[in-house]
């Protein structure tokens, strides 16, 4: 069994997670991520199990709350933590080039 991921595999997971990594970090992640993935791979050893799923451990029916308007937040509150804004607009990089 190989003891580390390839450089391409590390770049693939970094891309999936939208977490940038530096050239120097790649080598470290090759080993660390492999250790974690080997551990989760142990699930393959379990052969006997029921088909039923447990997504979250609660037993009541999920009921949506009534569709009534409640407490409202002001524009000012919503914009309070926005890192970059112009007036009441959230500023983002150009998404579509002409």
């Amino acid at each position: 069994m190989k003891d580390k991921l390839t450089k391409e595999e590390v770049l693939h997971v970094s891309r999936l997670a939208r977490v940038g990594i530096s050239e120097e970090e790649i080598e470290k992640y090759q080993v660390e991520l492999k250790k974690l993935l080997d551990e989760v791979d142990k699930i393959k050893e379990v052969k006997n199990y029921d088909e039923e799923l447990l997504i979250a451990p609660y037993d009541h029916d999920t009921v949506l709350r009534k569709d009534e308007s409640g407490e409202m937040l002001s524009n000012e509150e919503i914009m309070k933590n926005v890192p970059a804004s112009i007036g009441n607009f959230v500023e983002v990089p150009v998404m579509i080039n002409d």
Binding site: H12, L16, E39, P93
Partner: protein
């Protein structure tokens, strides 16, 4: 020395009622102790607001046992207008615009929030060392970790900097630091306490719970924070009981099981020996204690990793540098904004987990790992349920060891998961679990007993915990310790 932080909540309540003291006296004592402490239990203090609130309460009737008590809140629970960081650079300057449901409830009881406690970044860790704001210290020995992720909430209560605190537990994060710091910590049944306003790590495992100096005060705080909440889809409709009601009752005739896995070779002998002393004590009191097998316990860490990392990668996708939180300057594209913001904003433990989680949920892997984990998870819950048909409660150690040295195992990505091997199954299955001090090792570091109940059996767990607490009568004030 302290005047008020040594007194019980009932004693404080009497003094407040007789107007011999005011809430401000309690607040002042807490801040005096916090400011003279080097334990780094807090990320943000709420001094100005707390003082204001204490003065406001002077004109109010003392209407409940928790009235006027200073409380510390873990920094992943949002507090309106009070910085909430999750111990991460990415939320370093985040000021919430609403209160979590538990915060609304503790305000309703007229408690006073004195600050936000230190923790592992996004609750990912078992030592509190992944905090962006430095590690909180263990009051029993400052060269040791306080445990995690609710390390600040445990150390501030243990060190008598606050009367009580709130923590959160996804895979042991209330119970393990409670064990390491010698306090009482309860992870309630999934759905008992609203998660509204708890910054999500793994939504199907997370639960907020009380961390206190003793069992009775723990039950009181659980009374205050429990209940249905329309804002949390998984919140239980079950009525809130008085969780103190069985405290003091005789334990004779109770049936208790210890899973063999929880006393296997993974547990250190000093912890195992302490547990065996408890078994003796219980048997002498007329309690039946049997050793049993529960299937799948040895697979709990693997299941936990798949479910917790998968859910974390999805929950933490919201940190995109656009609406709140840290954001990289002058990004040239949306892609650069996401990739660099998250590279610079998250710490290494969080990044590792998001990367692995994204991989586990991608394409076919979702079926191979996540889907299969959910099936085995269901089997594990059923195995526990079978045990609860014959036994009232399950016990074992909280942790395989006592608190270890700062820096130990930091570079091992698996250690933090293995630390929680004994407490993780409880989150997977949704049951309540608590840590209650059961003694010390020869270096005088505290050891916690793990009590696991069937769904919504918290009152019964407190009954057993209170019996053990009374029998052992330990001195749990670290200032008299090392």
């Amino acid at each position: 020395m302290t005047k008020y932080l040594d007194l019980s909540i009932q004693q404080i309540n009497e003094l407040l009622k007789k107007k011999e003291i005011k809430p401000i006296d309690l607040v002042n004592e807490c801040f005096e102790r916090i400011e003279n402490s080097d334990s780094n239990s807090f990320i943000t203090l709420n001094k100005e607001e707390a003082i204001k609130r204490a003065h406001e309460l002077e004109n109010k009737e003392v209407d409940n046992l928790l009235f006027g008590l200073p409380i510390a809140v873990k920094d992943n629970i949002v507090t309106k207008n009070l910085r909430t960081t999750c111990a991460s650079k990415i939320l370093e300057n985040f000021i919430p615009i609403y209160d979590a449901e538990v915060v609304r409830k503790i305000n309703e009881k007229n408690m006073i929030i004195i600050g936000k406690t230190n923790m592992d970044e996004f609750a990912m860790g078992s030592t509190s060392q992944t905090s962006y704001f430095g590690v909180p210290l263990n009051p029993w020995n400052k060269t040791r970790v306080p445990g995690g992720s609710s390390g600040g909430s445990a150390s501030c209560v243990s060190n008598r900097l606050a009367f009580l605190s709130l923590g959160s537990d996804t895979g042991g994060s209330i119970r393990q630091p409670s064990s390491y710091c010698g306090i009482v910590g309860m992870k309630p049944t999934y759905g008992r306490v609203s998660r509204y306003g708890l910054i999500a790590f793994a939504s199907s495992l997370d639960q907020i719970g009380p961390m206190t100096r003793n069992v009775y005060e723990n039950a009181l705080l659980l009374n205050a924070i429990s209940g249905h909440d329309d804002k949390d889809l998984t919140s239980s409709y079950r009525e809130v009981e008085d969780y103190t009601r069985m405290i003091g009752e005789d334990v004779k005739g109770m049936k208790i099981a210890i899973p063999n896995y929880l006393v296997s070779d993974i547990v250190s002998s000093e912890v195992k020996n302490k547990l065996m002393e408890i078994v003796e004590l219980l048997r002498e009191a007329g309690v039946t204690v049997d050793f049993i097998d529960i299937e799948y316990l040895d697979k709990a860490v693997t299941l936990y990793q798949i479910i917790a990392m998968g859910e974390a990668s999805s929950n933490l996708a919201r940190f995109d540098g656009i609406r709140y939180g840290y954001s990289v300057e002058n990004p040239q594209s949306a892609d650069e904004l996401y990739m660099k913001t998250r590279q610079e904003g998250f710490g290494k433990e969080v990044k590792r987990r998001i990367m692995v989680g994204s991989y586990l949920l991608s394409g076919e892997n979702a079926k191979i790992y996540y889907d299969k984990a959910l099936r085995i998870r269901d089997d594990m819950r059923k195995a526990f349920k079978d045990a609860f048909k014959k036994y009232d409660l399950i016990i074992g150690p909280v942790s395989t060891t006592v608190a270890y040295s700062l820096g130990e195992g930091l570079d091992d990505p698996l250690k933090t998961f293995m630390d929680d091997v004994l407490v993780i199954p409880v989150n997977m299955a949704g049951f309540p679990g608590m840590s209650v001090p059961m003694g010390f090792n020869k270096e005088h570091m505290p050891i916690g007993l793990h009590i696991i109940g069937d769904d919504f059996e918290e009152a019964l767990m407190y009954k057993l915990a209170a019996f053990i607490e009374k029998k052992l009568n330990l001195n749990l004030d670290p200032r008299g310790g090392k």
